[in-house]
């Protein structure tokens, strides 16, 4: 069996790539996809711990996280579409309407 540490290293690398995506890209859709990547890496670590601790709770948590992620994507993409209608761009540097 693959050791626990290898799974955790893999999830940490995926999470870090998600962070890099959120910080470096300016396209709002790609920022969103990077957030999905981070959610996925955390899901994977939860399933890993569930397996290594002989528990099913992690898999239930992943099920619920996926539900929330689906709702979040639906609402978030609707917001992107709404902002695009108003401002004609999805470049996040130009979305400063809440800056005051």
């Amino acid at each position: 069996m693959v050791p626990l540490a290898h799974y955790l290293i893999f999830t940490a690398i995926l999470f870090t790539l998600g962070v890099v995506g959120v910080l470096t890209r300016r396209n709002a859709i790609i920022v969103f996809m990077s957030i999905e990547l981070m959610l996925n890496s955390v899901n994977l670590s939860m399933v890993t711990f569930a397996r290594f601790l002989n528990s099913m709770d992690g898999q239930i948590a992943v099920f619920l996280v996926m539900t929330v992620a689906a709702a979040e994507v639906a609402v978030g993409l609707a917001l992107i579409v709404a902002i695009y209608r108003k401002k004609e761009t999805i470049n996040i540097d130009e979305m400063h309407i809440m800056q005051g």
């Binding site: 870090t16 790539l17 397996r51 992943v62 639906a74 999805i90």
Partner: protein, 174 residues
Amino acid sequence: MSYFMLNPAFYIFAGLAVILAIFMITIPNPVYSAIFLVLTFFCISVIYITLEAEFIAAIQVLVYTGAIMVLFLFVIMLLNLGRDADLAEHSGPMKYISIIVAFAILIQIGLAAKVTVNIGEKGMFPIEKVREIGNTETIAGLLFSDYLYPFEIASILLLLGMVGAIIISKKRVE
């Protein structure tokens, strides 16, 4: 014995997932980015199978690569992004600062994993028992007994998300 003797599927698909994720965050075109993300999700679902979580692997393919990515592709095509302003990226110090921040996070996660790894009580679902009952049946049994309230709240949340998405993206009619 090398580590690759342990479970080659994990190492192959983990490496592939990391490479595809790097492509996903670096490629400028959002459509290709979405396709690389789909492939990353497929690799992750294979890794779920190496952990004997077949149900999670199945809903990973159904929900993420099926539903969520179709939504992403629809929005990308709906917005018709072809102009330079939409495809422009950060240049200069911001990129390097964010990569340094990301490395700090990676090191921090590594240290936390090293300190706290394998702490926790063993649960009551060892692999033989799950195999005997069946992965999906075990999850279903727990979802409809111990986790009934979270399950119901999740269903209400999905309904609210759907209604919210329709209201937000609807065209205003004067």
